[in-house]
Point group: C2
Chain length 452, copies 2
């Protein structure tokens, strides 16, 4: 993409309304624009990252065998009366009346609707296990929306729902989600720690939240420092293997890690003192097992092997897709701007032409752009007639992990400059070496992709 033809409205000033760094940087980097309180437009750069995050979530859900569906944003109030939540939900639910005076709502979550889909179409235990998920816009009418996309009102969420014949199978679905979530967050360059949590209005007995440690987190968390040494890595897990998934759950949840809602000082005191940590965390996902809480009142039953009907065991599992962008920036930035992990960067590399209009630097840049593209790398080419300093500042602000700088002096020696955004280290090498270096850097990112 040529910057001269792109729409990247970066701001020079710090927007006064932004209290936290991710909100500030998303506004400054031209990623989002506020339209109403807690409601944002996604400008091209922000949308590109949102789509990368979404794509990783899709791939890891499908790798785990989960099937995508898409439910509408608006729902009928009657459906929520069946579960009893219409009256319980409170003011965060945006209630709407249509022209025929029918009561509707903008879905804050979808347990009722997915249960309705299930009961309409599934009849036999032979069709189980089944996990359906979607990535769709939700609305929660927060009384004080703040922190940009971290606590917006209209937000993008992945919500998935498992349907199983037995509690044991449903707990395997729970474990399977935990494994898939660990992979998901690591592909985004995040460490998200599963912590025992409170179930809130979704209900249920088992639930874990996934938290990214960050100073600006809304939750206070308490944990055994050994937990931050765990990584999932590129383990090959058979998602149908109950024992293998249970072992991962055990490994990642046996050490103390809780949010303030479930924190227990007496249990925490048993952790050796030097490993007892408290910090702040950003919630980026949550998994629930809630058994027959929805299937029973809503009549979502299957005929079992013995011929009798039983309500299915369910759970629901969410990932805060739009809020993840905030969390990723909170976890990766410096005073110059954002530093994207390679797994989610909007463009793989920025290309800076130090002497726009000079025939040889222009043609060297165009050749680099072609060769990088041919290796599957997306390039943002700053082809504007601007000072070098302004071009560097824009690249630093928007946070592409790698930059190639091309100028007449380097070209005279057959070199370009390759700069790492995180370390700031630059090396001079030939254009073709720069291309193959970057292809190597991104090879594991491309290899991590899942094609169903």
């Amino acid at each position: 993409m040529r910057l001269s033809r792109y729409f990247l409205p970066v701001l020079k000033e710090n927007p006064s309304e932004a209290q936290i760094v991710s909100h500030r940087l998303m506004l400054r980097a031209g990623m989002i624009k506020q339209q109403s309180a807690g409601i944002y437009s996604w400008l091209p750069l922000g949308l590109k990252v949102l789509r990368r995050v979404e794509q990783i979530v899709h791939e890891e859900q499908q790798r785990a065998g989960h099937i995508p569906v898409l439910m509408p944003t608006l729902q009928s109030a009657d459906l929520w009366r069946e579960s009893g939540r219409y009256d319980d939900y409170g003011e965060e639910m945006l209630r709407i009346t249509d022209r025929h005076k029918r009561e509707m709502l903008y879905g804050p979550t979808n347990e009722e609707m997915i249960t309705d889909i299930f009961r309409a179409h599934v009849n036999s235990y032979k069709d189980l296990p089944l996990t359906l998920y979607q990535i769709q816009w939700k609305f929660r009418d927060e009384i004080r929306p703040r922190f940009g996309v971290m606590r917006g009102r209209e937000f993008l969420m992945k919500d998935g729902y498992n349907f199983d014949l037995t509690k044991e199978d449903a707990l395997h679905a729970y474990n399977r989600h935990l494994v898939s979530y660990l992979r998901t967050y690591e592909r985004m360059g995040l460490q998200a720690i599963p912590m025992r949590a409170d179930s809130g209005p979704i209900g249920g007995e088992n639930t874990h939240e996934f938290l990214v440690l960050a100073e600006t987190g809304e939750s206070e968390v308490f944990y055994d420092s050994q937990i931050t040494d765990l990584t999932f890595g590129d383990r090959q897990i058979d998602y149908d293997d109950h024992a293998a998934c249970a072992a991962v759950l055990e490994e990642f949840t046996s050490r103390y890690a809780r949010t303030d809602e479930t924190h227990d000082e007496a249990v925490f005191a048993q952790v050796p003192e030097e490993r007892r940590k408290s910090a702040r965390g950003i919630e980026v996902g949550q998994i629930f097992y809630f058994g027959t809480k929805y299937s029973e009142p809503m009549g979502a039953t299957v005929v079992g092997p013995d011929g009798s009907r039983t309500p299915v065991h369910m759970g629901s599992h969410g990932i805060g897709v739009s809020r993840l962008l905030g969390a990723i920036i909170e976890a990766g930035h410096d005073d110059k701007g954002i530093i994207w992990p390679e797994g989610v960067t909007p463009f793989h590399v920025g290309l800076v032409n130090l002497k726009q209009g000079d025939a040889s630097t222009d043609s060297a840049c165009e050749a680099l752009e072609r060769e990088l593209s041919a290796r599957g790398l997306e390039v943002l080419y700053d082809d504007r007639d601007e000072r070098a300093g302004a071009k560097f500042a824009t690249m630093d602000l928007i946070g592409l992990p790698w930059r190639i700088t091309v100028g007449p002096r380097g070209l005279a020696n057959n070199v370009v400059e390759l700069t790492n955004r995180r370390t700031g280290v630059s090396v001079e090498l030939s254009a073709s070496e720069a291309v193959s270096r970057l292809a190597d850097v991104y090879a594991p990112v491309f290899a991590a992709a899942y094609k169903p």
Copy 2:
């Protein structure tokens, strides 16, 4: 994908609520489920086609140089007061009040919001031309939603907006959209005819609708039969070339083709009688040039080359993404079910195992599944323990353009059966010949893709 692990709730009975064939077939093929009047869930098969259609729209927009953004579904009423449309829009606009008693609405279109984004960020003619587009859910509170996704209330639409310094540039943007739309529809296997139309509540002087001819169309259309001989094909058009785009517009709009809103008997009478046709059509897109209708009241101006501020010239351009699925089915089905064009089929090929559980047919099917996937072809493998007739009926209903049938008798002669859904013609060939035949069939589909 193995059918035993998929969620494909096909219906045996014809649903009584569906009046037209596309609605009936989408319900029967387990593509959608109605949740409220005019509001649907997209089940896995339906969602897969929706994503293919969406992907083609994205690719053709980006090929034309248009930049994707994403605006929220909910908008502030105040923004619509600036253009004067808040009071004009009528009952189709879903009006919402939030917990702080602020007036909001579910966007039926986005001229106001995109103009707001533009005026906040663009200041100079040097940043033009600019076309921003999105594919996002919209809501229009139709008094009588009907025909499934063809006239739903919550629907997915591509809406794009051009910003240009002069009327001449804006008319080039109009022409460019027309060209990109012709490519878009043809990639979906559709002939969509641009017809002069009425501008309705969007406003403006120039507008064309794109109509697919179908008996169930809502509009009566009148046209010169020569127009149905035109195809865009795989012409390489430089979208920056004003003359080239204008020539395409001239070619595709110089013959008589109008909806009943703009039909003129006197002009029509000049078409030779044997070429005068009337039919019904489904509207699948519309392009508008409306000049400064929104930029002037909303203050979307740029500093021009002479240093003075002028309001930008705009147009808006829509494609009915979700309704396209209905149009494609109306244009392609028979009494057994849907017949997908290869460009949008949910799976490229269906694989039917005639003797599930038999070691050699199972392993032949699994080998085929692997080899087809290795060629980039998505396979729906019916691995259920069902009668052949039931498997064929399901494949015919869901409309995959190709089917491979594997049975013990064929395997004894080293052949499988390759069947074309549209013609019904089957040929026997070796498994590897079937794979390369299909790879050849889909090569032009894959080649038509655009990677930015």
